[in-house]
């Protein structure tokens, strides 16, 4: 865990509201694992006050890549920052998706939820069979397809709600069939709450190891502020930043 003074090396708009950031951050890059996240100070001022959490798209020391969607104030400021700007970046934070080197794994990504799964695929696709189920509202939400094509994934299933890319419909519509035909041993998912909740319902009966990476409002990112509480199935709270962001899907109380 480092509070690193990084530097933006490249910022690229991938159409509409999506941006790719290449950041020089050697200490973090060296340690980053798929599933880890970072907390960025989007501006050197005290407003906005809090850092913002982002997943790590890939890591090639001394660089990491971030991929983000403009949502509000912080991400708007971030997209306007330029190559050469200093960037305070805290990480790598949280746990990682488990390494299951001998297993066939289905990665399930909703929209910008692709981020940690892209990282997983990048690191492990060459050594084991990985399937990807990737969905979004439309083609604009599925911008990383070209980069994913370059990876040796066993299979890719693309869904979009408006039909502009891949099959029409939510990605959950593809799940049953993929699981039945491909018989993965584990699933790893990241995406909107509603999607994760739906997955939890659909995967409950199947005998798979299921993992999900969660989001939450984060004040600190390293376990001290207690803001990122998520209710677990045992009725107690977990900290998404320190106990997660990756949890066994069954550990969480759905819908959160």
């Amino acid at each position: 865990m480092h509070d690193e003074s990084g530097r933006i090396e490249e910022t690229r708009c991938l159409g509409e509201n999506y941006y790719l950031l290449k950041v020089f951050a050697p200490q973090i890059a060296r340690e980053a694992k798929p599933g880890n996240f970072v907390m960025l100070r989007v501006s050197p001022t005290w407003e906005p006050l809090l850092r913002r959490p982002f997943g790590i798209l890939q890591s090639q020391p001394p660089h990491i890549w971030l991929y983000f969607q403009v949502k509000g104030r912080g991400t708007t400021l971030l997209k306007d920052r330029q190559a050469g700007d200093r960037l305070d970046i805290l990480g790598p934070l949280g746990n990682a998706f488990p390494e299951l080197p001998d297993q066939k794994i289905l990665l399930i990504a909703g929209g910008r939820g692709i981020v940690p799964l892209f990282h997983y695929a990048k690191n492990y696709a060459a050594r084991q069979p990985l399937l990807l189920l990737y969905g979004g509202r439309g083609a604009a939400d599925l911008k990383l397809l070209a980069e994913l094509d370059a990876m040796p994934l066993l299979e890719k299933y693309i869904f979009s709600e408006d039909g502009s890319c891949g099959e029409k419909g939510p990605l959950t519509e593809g799940l049953e069939k993929i699981v039945r035909e491909q018989r993965p041993q584990a699933t790893m998912a990241c995406g909107p709450e509603a999607m994760l909740a739906a997955l939890a319902g659909m995967l409950r009966a199947k005998k798979l190891d299921n993992y999900a990476s969660l989001e939450a409002v984060m004040g600190c990112g390293f376990g001290v502020c207690h803001s990122c509480a998520v209710a677990a199935a045992d009725g107690r709270y977990r900290k998404v930043c320190a106990d997660g962001p990756v949890f066994p899907l069954e550990e969480i109380q759905w819908p959160i």
């Binding site: 809090l50 805290l90 409002v217 001290v224 803001s227």
Partner: protein, 303 residues
């Protein structure tokens, strides 16, 4: 190099910088970012007799240069914390302050008693000012009579030095400060968070389940500095000032208005090594102002 040590009457700290309760976890979380031995003391997250789940999320809301929180003192109970404290005191010689909470006077007294008995604990801070427990933000520190009664009861029970933490939401904070002093408080700390409101336009509901929440961070600094100044002028016991501190200059400003030491809160979230930077700035600023020690400026505001 300037002498940074400060005197709280009942004890001396090597410097005036104390991470504030609820913003520094149990200390251990900051080990990756700093040597805990460099700070003057540290306050642990508020503790009740029994473990508490805390309020339902969301628990934080960002405001301009500020932070509303409604954590509701999530955390383990007093038994578990004792173990944490023993571990912590094995890793640092920095004085450990326990932030004592309670849902009623009896619980305050009981929890205080538990930690006063621990040799690893240097002093207690009585958190009678948390706005996130009762609806509407009510707390003992809004009422001087309740404050007097409660502090007296706690103090009778323990031998450890007792800091009483005051609320900026009292109608008359100076009256409450005096009541705590008369009841035997060894020091005062202020301020806890200011009551604020955030709303969700789509849901037409408050953001927080508890409706109101507590505001902290740089936004409150001019308000907190005023309250610390007013209290310092009216009490004889040492005062630990806080509210929105982010720099070495801020630390000196609190000391100039009369504080003996300071706490830093929200800034620890934004910048986990904030204490390290602020201490370095404090030294530089003292050099610039040609101060050999903090007594030369403490309470020297000429009005």
């Amino acid at each position: 190099m300037a002498d940074l040590s400060v005197d709280l009457g009942f004890c001396r700290l090597k410097n005036p910088l104390i991470p504030a309760s609820g913003t520094f976890g149990y200390g251990e979380e900051f080990v990756p970012f700093m040597d805990l031995d460099i700070i003057g003391a540290l306050v642990l997250k508020g503790i009740y007799r029994n473990a508490r789940p805390g309020n339902p999320p969301p628990r934080l809301f960002e405001t301009p240069a500020g932070l509303l929180n409604s954590i509701g003192l999530a955390g383990p109970g007093a038994d578990e914390l004792q173990g944490v404290i023993r571990r912590l005191s094995a890793t640092t010689r920095t004085p450990i302050i326990v932030n004592v909470c309670g849902q009623d006077d009896a619980e305050f007294a009981e929890v205080a008693g538990i930690f006063a008995a621990m040799p690893e604990v240097a002093m207690l801070e009585l958190n009678i000012s948390c706005p996130n427990i009762k609806r509407g933000g009510a707390c003992p520190a809004q009422d001087e009579k309740h404050t007097y009664r409660l502090v007296k009861r706690v103090k009778e029970n323990i031998a450890k030095p007792l800091i009483v933490k005051l609320s900026p939401n009292a109608a008359d904070i100076v009256a409450v400060a005096r009541a705590a002093q008369e009841a035997g408080a060894d020091a005062l700390s202020l301020v806890n968070t200011f009551l604020g409101l955030a709303v969700d336009l789509e849901k037409r509901r408050p953001v927080f389940a508890n409706t109101l929440a507590g505001l902290s961070g740089p936004a409150i600094k001019p308000l907190a500095l005023r309250l610390v100044w007013e209290v310092c002028r009216q009490v004889r016991i040492p005062v630990i000032g806080m509210g929105g501190i982010t720099s070495g200059k801020d630390v000196l400003e609190y000391i100039l208005v009369g504080a003996s030491a300071v706490q830093i809160g929200t800034v620890n979230f934004c910048e986990p090594a904030a204490a390290v930077r602020i201490l370095a700035e404090l030294e530089k600023e003292m050099e610039k102002l040609r101060l050999n020690n903090l007594n030369e400026i403490k309470g020297k505001l000429a009005v």
